[in-house]
Symmetry: none
Subunit: 229 residues, 2 copies
DNA sequence: TGGTTTTGTGACCAGATTGTAACGGCTTCA
DNA sequence: TGAAGCCGTTACAATCTGGTCACAAAACCA
């Protein structure tokens, strides 16, 4: 089954650079959404829900850092990978130091091949769980389009993090995910969060899944992590 | 718990070069095994079963090329990727190196970053198949992805250490592992535990494997160690 | 056969791992 | 703006696991 092309939001104010990037991404089969300013970027994220954002850190108006921070704070966009572009390596260090939570950093001038590779790497990391499909496991049904989860016809109420956690599990039922892998997938790459937080959210997910009765479908694998079924 | 770090066997007689390489690999999270000569390399491949070999072309004694040829001839080591290092840049050598069966070929002086990238590339190429695979031996089935062990359709219950122990055995059924090798593999390199601990865990593994009946598949090799089958 | 070495295993306790309630800080939404 | 909801951390309890020891059993050797 052919999959819809992943969409990339390119945020870059310098037209030449933006077009080179867009050209190459389109040549690789991505759908490209362009933004010139931070405000525009934030608006387009809402409207178009891109699969990944490539973000220049120097922007007129709302800076790239601020865009990144906002996106990584909002629960509904936190899972979208962000690749930050900056002109010098010291800047990368600074940007990192600000704990903006970007998933990857690339120094300009960058090799186009390398950037493509990084875009693909980030998509590989998160995409499967965000694909607009209906995942099913036993009596659980997860509709990533409408962001709804059903268990035996009943709609379950669960928060954004629990949702992504469950989506990750349902992508490969039975597979054991380590706490680190889950943090990487569900929370994001450069985010510092205690691994015990995963346990707490697993507990919340369990409670949510059993709110209308039924067995706990989440399996703890001691010393390894968690799995669905 | 973090996934087991991939191990790299570095074969290089020049101490400075060997340590630079080892330092960088360790910084990247790999476990490094060092060898100075071809003979030593061949021995360590048996003992440590590294995930990948980085091999200098010019070695005292058995040459790099010869080591490569031997490893690529033997059935049990053929799958291990080999990256050859050489000071010479002539096309001829490159061809000869690849003909011998090396999986990649890097010319000295090399960029460390590039070499790391190639190491990772080779591991990506082979690792998924061995890590995600379902190992089988007689009526025992071990699924590393779901962390489950079956014996004749029944799910076996075994702790983390027993699981790793069994996984090690099933990687190479029939192979005899010394207590030291098992400690190294299952417990970790720089951990001090009595070798008798291995015996105790072998006992626990045996009990776990027979919890639903069946023969004991673990063989004791007096004075040497243990093996599966 | 008797003595020696090696291996098997039950029991025990220390420490690690996990489940979960509670809390304070933020964000979101009406 | 206030209330409700969500998040990450922490602390504590319950549970499980791992390493050691001691002694029994088995294998080996002369």
């Amino acid at each position: 089954m052919a999959r819809e092309a992943p969409s990339v939001l390119v945020v870059e104010d310098e037209p030449a650079q933006r077009e080179v990037l867009a050209y190459n991404l389109e040549a690789e089969g991505f759908r490209v959404i362009r933004a010139e300013t931070g405000d525009e970027a934030l608006m387009l994220v809402d409207e178009e829900t891109p699969d990944i954002v490539v973000l220049d850190w120097m922007l007129p108006g709302v800076s790239g850092i601020e865009v990144c921070r906002q996106l990584k704070t909002r629960a509904d966009t936190r899972g979208t990978p962000i690749i930050m572009l900056s002109a010098r390596s010291e800047e990368v260090d600074r940007v990192r130091g600000l704990e903006t939570g970007a998933d990857d950093y690339v120094i300009k001038p960058y090799s186009v091949v390398e950037l493509m590779a990084r875009v693909r790497a980030q998509l590989r990391r998160v995409r499967p769980s965000t694909v607009g499909a209906v995942l099913e496991f036993e009596d659980i049904k997860l509709d990533s389009e409408s962001h709804r989860v059903y268990r035996r016809e009943e709609v379950l109420k669960l928060g954004p993090t629990e949702f992504r956690l469950l989506a990750t599990f349902m992508e490969k039922p039975g597979r054991v995910w380590s706490r680190e892998q889950l943090l990487d997938r569900v929370w994001g790459r450069d985010i510092y969060v205690d691994t015990r937080t995963v346990d707490v959210h697993i507990g919340r997910l369990r409670k949510a899944l059993c709110q209308h009765g039924g067995e706990d479908p989440v399996r703890t694998v001691r010393g390894a992590g968690y799995a669905l079924g």
